[in-house]
Amino acid sequence: MKSRRHIISVLMENEAGALSRVAGLFSARGYNIESLTVAPTEDATLSRMTIVTTGSEEVVEQIVKQLNKLIDVVKVLDLSDGHHIERELMLVKVRAGGKDREEMKRMADIFRGRIIDVTDKTYTIELTGTGSKLDAFLEAIDAAVILETVRTGASGIGRGERVLKL
């Protein structure tokens, strides 16, 4: 059975403990979580979660069913079943002094990143894109200059008329 990456959107009641029900489900049943992001939607009673996981079709079918079975979960959509867009935000703090400083700015520009904090020795760069684009940026710069990175994990949305809503 071939394992594939899936990106799953979950619309759930914005209630205390809802996140732990999802996290607990994944750990109890041994499902893999690559990333998980959650925040309230425009309707404050609902939260939307994006989970990136890998698994065979059978396992992912079970994941979707088990998510639907949680009482707080309103709707579940496997975005990877159709056209979708995903974005992740990364903040990278790099050492940027001397001759590296200009090079770092150029790399950030190439990747359409923005420098959002500057000191005489460091830049903090904000980058948005797919996970692989963020990976590519980290590979493109010298690993030795990276001071720290923080990533949000992927958020996803269906293309066009594909809408996850009540």
Partner: protein, 568 residues
């Protein structure tokens, strides 16, 4: 009018028509107990350990189909209840467990008798709630009962901090609940039912494989009608026993690890398998790869979509209430002319009868030592096959399942999924309270019975005339059996060297005790015990120490790779 949270709890339970609350008081629930003291709408059953309370509520629910209710205090009250909650969860039993919690201001501060109840119970409940505002209390309890009883049933925990039981709010019990996030599908998909019927009517070697869902979904009548209309063989899981009459010719017995030869072979060699409220559990199909070696079409009817294609890929899934789906299938079959190929069916029955002729449940009836199977058979005779039988977990449980032929649903009460030793006695308490005039027997072992023996005291307080059938082989029998077969007879810790005198123990609790040592005394003793209609009788049957449960499918083997009694 404004009521306190404690008053609201009691009013909600009364509104739900609760008959019995099984519980144990403590600091966090004192306000609720004070209100229980003042009311007469329902009775409270004081147990001797919280585990007993939850099992008793569970037993009550299994025997009636109604929601069982338990009430425990915070901290250790909750942790003691967890085994009971997990047991009910694994078998999909509708239950509401109300737990006390430390005051909201103390939550998270490691207060006295504080545990994270919602966190601890989360993986073993259908849902749980922490009520932080008294204004949410009534609607939360209403939701709890609704969630527990609908869809695939299960236990729901409502955790109530002590201050919430003191605060006041306007009380109005909601007539119903609407939850946008919870709407179980009950009506089967018409197209899927049509597809399933084509397969069923085209079957040459069909089998109805039924499970606990038939009992829980009150679908026994529909199942009987369908099986008889089609003349299909029926097998059942441990949890489904009684869903189809065990004495009926079309019944092949239980299948699985200790299933009958004919049931397991039919399961393996059928061409159309209709799974009804069953979930292809590891104890049922054994090794899934071995099961998949034979080609068959599978139709799976279940109210829980996540039960479908979990362990075995099915061809026609039907999500819906088992009873509603079976009734719709019946309606359509009756409306049409098409029937399965009778010649093929006759050939299939001929094959099944050959398998059945193996008589795999045979045992030595001439033995001078009491055979446990014999006790169960005699129990069936003495009770006219109509008793409610609870069991604990182990060999005695399998013998009860194999030899007490259940003809009605909800008569067989045991822990199938979690396999919890110690359930038998508290289950029997819940059953007897639900059906005061019924004969209730608890078939148990000397290991299991000691896990909740303290409830003999509760039985005395409530005058519960249970009949405890202890099949005493001085071994943890199922462990011993595995050690004999798979561990070269190294009986590690499966023998209890010092057992209590069960007769004296029963008498100490105010009951009648008997020890029965000879096969010829078994029937007389049972008749004597059941004649004592108002007494609990603890019957200590000294049985063959080395009797094993057959047939047996060793772990990891295919279901046709059975060890039969005659092969040893």
């Amino acid at each position: 009018m404004e009521l306190t949270g404690a008053e609201i709890v009691v009013r909600c339970l009364a509104e739900e028509g609760v008959e019995y609350v099984f519980g144990y008081p403590g600091g966090a629930v004192l306000n609720i107990y004070d209100e229980i003291f003042k009311q007469d709408k329902f009775k409270h059953v004081l147990v001797r350990h919280e585990q007993g309370a939850v099992h008793a509520a569970d037993g009550y629910a299994r025997a009636t189909g109604r929601v069982g209710v338990a009430l425990v205090t915070s901290g250790p009250g909750v942790t003691n209840a967890v085994t009971g909650i997990a047991t009910a969860y694994m078998d999909s039993i509708p239950m509401v467990v109300i737990t006390g919690q430390v005051p909201t201001a103390a939550i998270g501060l490691d207060a006295f008798q504080e545990v994270d109840t919602v966190g601890i119970t989360r993986p073993c409940v259908k849902h749980n709630f922490l009520v932080k505002d008294v204004r949410d209390l009534a609607v939360t309890i209403k939701k709890a009962f609704h969630i527990a009883a609908t869809g695939r049933p299960g236990p729901v925990v409502v955790d109530i901090p002590k201050d919430v039981t003191m605060h006041t709010a306007e009380f109005a019990y909601p007539a119903g609940v609407e939850m946008r996030s919870y709407n179980p599908v009950l009506k089967g998909h018409a197209g899927q039912i049509k597809k399933a019927l084509q397969m069923v009517l085209g079957a040459r070697r069909p089998l109805l494989y039924t499970g606990g869902g038939v009992v829980l979904g009150n679908a026994a009548e529909a199942l009987r009608e369908l099986a008889r209309l089609l003349n299909f063989p029926v097998t059942s899981t441990l949890m489904g026993l009684g869903g189809y009459p065990a004495t009926d010719r079309q019944f092949l017995g239980m299948l699985g690890m200790h299933g009958t030869y004919e049931a397991n072979l039919s399961m393996q060699h059928c061409d159309v398998l209709v799974a009804i409220g069953a979930r292809f559990d590891d104890r049922v199909i054994g090794n899934p790869a071995h099961f998949a070696r034979e080609q068959r079409k599978i139709i799976h009817i279940d109210v829980d979509p996540s039960s479908i294609s979990k362990r075995v890929k099915v061809d026609v899934p039907i999500v819906g209430d088992v009873k509603a789906v079976l009734e719709e299938m019946l309606r359509q079959i009756k409306a049409g002319r098409e029937r399965p190929d009778q010649e093929a069916l006759t050939a299939w029955w001929t094959q099944i009868e050959l398998w059945r002729a193996k008589d795999c449940l045979r045992y030595n009836r001439q033995s001078p030592i009491i055979k446990p199977q014999y006790v169960v058979e005699k129990l069936w005779e003495v009770t006219g096959g109509e008793a409610y039988v609870t069991s604990d977990v182990g060999q005695h449980q399998m013998w009860a399942a194999q030899y007490y032929r259940f003809n009605e649903p909800r008569r067989w009460i045991n822990s199938g999924g979690l396999g919890t030793m110690g359930v038998g006695l508290p289950y029997a308490m819940g059953v007897q309270l639900a059906h005061p005039a019924a004969q209730v027997a608890c078939i148990t072992g000397e290991g299991s019975i000691q896990m909740n023996i303290q409830e003999l005291s509760t039985c005395k307080e409530f005058n519960l005339p249970l009949k405890i059938i202890l099949l005493n082989n001085r071994y943890l029998g199922m462990v011993r059996q595995w050690q004999e077969f798979f561990y070269k007879e190294r009986y590690a810790e499966s023998y209890m060297g010092s057992l209590p005198d069960f007769v004296k123990l029963a008498e100490a609790y105010g009951h009648v005790g008997m020890t029965i040592e000879k096969p010829e005394d078994v029937e007389r003793a049972l008749r004597e015990a059941f004649a004592m209609k108002d007494r609990l009788v603890f019957m200590n049957f000294i049985t063959d120490q080395e009797e094993n449960v057959f047939p047996m499918v060793p772990g990891g083997k295919g279901i046709t790779e059975m060890i039969l009694a005659e092969e040893l």
